[in-house]
């Protein structure tokens, strides 16, 4: 009887795991299968024509890259600042925990709220209209918890002996930061940024009101009134009118490219994440 229970639990749990992994892998497979036919050199290098029925996604890719690059650059200093404040400058457990609570809460906030924020402050109040920079700012805010937490964990993993040795040599706290902490934390910054970018690349809600349009933009000219085309928004708009079969394959192709981009960013972060995992468990 007890052996039956043993077997049942294992079977049920295994079944759940199979279904879970199966569904998720199946989804990717469907996208790949339907999108693959659309992929070609011209798909990547041409612009959209005929409302997505022809042409390619070149400018969408460019726009997404611009957004990701600016998000990364804006987020970086803030994340480093937050991580250093949490690990080095803040005294007292209560304030540290408060900071970390703020970060975790931020992480759970729906991205559309950041989009609305950007819409109110930048598009309306500052009268910038739709601009790529607003997109960068908004995405940076969304990335902030991911990158900060990755940095904080990396800093915490630095052996206390390094810091002690540096302090024993007479270095001030600021010097310790530059000489010991930051060089070691560099890896955490890159890894965290890659993970944050993977998430940001697929975001549609925050960029809808703030920086992207469906067609007509190429390189942004300046900051004000300079929207860009983006990959997720492109898919979003076309998905709502998806009865035109000519659009179909290209739509799946765009989705496949987006998926590829997100997976790529996640995967290159993987080796260093595994290494940190090993070091943490050693």
């Amino acid at each position: 009887m007890r052996r039956l229970g043993d077997f049942l639990l294992a079977a049920l749990a295994g079944l759940c795991a199979l279904v879970s992994v199966g569904i998720l892998v199946g989804l990717v497979f469907v996208v790949a299968q339907r999108g693959a036919p659309a992929l070609s050199w011209s798909f990547f290098t041409e612009q959209i024509r005929l409302v997505g029925a022809a042409g390619g996604i070149f400018w969408n890719l460019v726009g997404t890259m611009i957004l990701l690059a600016s998000a990364c650059l804006i987020c970086g200093p803030m994340a480093i600042g937050l991580a250093l404040v949490e690990c080095v400058w803040l005294r007292g457990d209560r304030s540290r925990r408060a900071l970390r609570t703020v970060l975790y809460t931020l992480n759970g906030l729906p991205s559309i709220l950041f989009g609305l924020f950007g819409f109110i402050v930048f598009v309306q109040w500052l009268d910038w209209g739709k601009s790529w920079l607003i997109g960068g700012i908004v995405l940076a805010l969304g990335m902030l918890p991911t990158v900060s937490v990755a940095l904080i964990e990396r800093l915490k993993a630095i052996p206390a002996s390094y810091v002690e040795a540096a302090a024993a040599l007479g270095l001030s706290r600021a010097q310790i930061v530059w000489a010991v902490l930051l060089p070691q934390a560099w890896g955490g910054l890159i890894t965290g940024s890659l993970l944050g970018l993977a998430r940001a690349a697929g975001e549609t809600a925050p960029i809808m009101f703030t920086c992207t349009i469906f067609a007509g933009a190429t390189w942004p000219r300046g900051i004000v009134e300079s929207p860009v085309l983006t990959l997720p928004y492109h898919i979003f708009i076309l998905a709502q009118d998806s009865f035109d079969p000519a659009v179909g394959a290209k739509l799946w192709g765009a989705a496949l490219v987006l998926l590829g981009l997100v997976f790529f960013l996640s995967l290159i972060a993987l080796p260093s994440r595994l290494k940190m995992h090993e070091e943490a468990n050693a």
Binding site: R2, L109, I112, L113, R199, T204, F209, I235, F263, L274
Partner: protein
């Protein structure tokens, strides 16, 4: 200098967040003044008549997230038990990596899959019940269930692994079977972390915008008379996020009351997801008391 810069950038970040919350409160004030608490409980939304009730959307968000959790929890927990208790080290890491990778699938891709696959499937499956279309609360719920599944599995696995191996070893040494050890030693001691996993997954479902937007039907004023029956699931509905993602957000900026009503929805969303996240995180971390 370093210290100053660190604090500067930190305060910029924190200040921006405070500004965000403040803006949502401030910009939504007109509708609170206009409707009072009726804003939360009102069931009608007719912006042309300046009548704003958020309850149908709150209801929609709750229903859709609830369905998602009810569907995802059993499979996710079962999968977590499998990875944490049955898989040896290397396959477990591989599965975890795979699941985390899949957790990164963008919501717009899920939305696309929902439109082109799930929608028709639900419509056909429930044809005996005569639904108006495939864009229903149920569709959104099912789609969300798949989206939060990786979260449940990953966090559930972490919670189970946090139970010390010595406990399992002692139970096995007494002669307990593997299933008994899992059910009576590992699961009870992982209760906190598992609860946190579910809360955080719920929070994620609650805040999801794009995928829900594409398949929920975006039908206002469709609150059913009997809230707890299953039939309303097959109706089109509206959630807080699907409303915010719609066209009203763009067009309402000029009209103070309408705009306030829209921002008010954002404020409600902020408070609810914030609460879920804070409670979920606190719940899971009480163990290091």
């Amino acid at each position: 200098m370093t210290r100053a810069w660190s604090w500067f950038f930190s305060l910029v970040a924190i200040g921006t967040l405070a500004l965000l919350v403040g803006i949502f409160v401030w910009q939504s004030l007109p509708v609170w003044r206009h409707e009072g608490w009726g804003y939360l409980t009102g069931t009608k939304w007719f912006f042309r008549q300046q009548e704003f009730g958020a309850w149908p959307m709150i209801y929609g968000s709750i229903v859709v997230s609830g369905v998602a959790l009810v569907l995802a929890a059993p499979f996710g927990m079962g999968a977590a038990i499998f990875t944490a208790e049955y898989l040896p080290r290397a396959p477990r890491l591989a599965v975890k990596v795979l699941i985390e990778l899949l957790a990164g699938v963008p919501s717009v891709v899920y939305g696309l899959l929902g439109i082109l696959l799930l929608r028709n499937w639900i419509y056909d499956l429930f044809a005996p019940f005569d639904p108006l279309s495939g864009d229903t609360l149920l569709t959104a719920g099912v789609l969300l269930a798949v989206m939060i599944l990786p979260t449940v599995v990953t966090l559930g696995d972490d919670a189970l692994r946090a139970v010390p191996a010595a406990q399992r070893r002692a139970a096995r040494a007494l002669g307990l079977t593997r299933a008994e050890t899992i059910l009576h030693v590992a699961l009870p001691q992982a209760r906190r972390g598992l609860g946190a996993a579910l809360l955080l997954a719920l929070g994620r479902a609650f805040g999801e915008t794009i995928a829900v937007f594409l398949v929920v039907g975006r039908q206002d004023n469709n609150l059913p008379e009997r809230l707890l029956s299953l039939r309303p699931l097959l109706e089109s509905g509206q959630t807080l996020t699907s409303k915010l993602g719609g066209s009203e957000t763009n067009i309402s900026y000029g009209d103070p009351l309408h705009w306030a009503a829209i921002v008010g929805l954002g404020l409600i969303l902020l408070v609810l997801t914030g609460a879920l996240t804070v409670i979920g995180t606190a719940f899971g971390r009480r163990s290091d008391a």
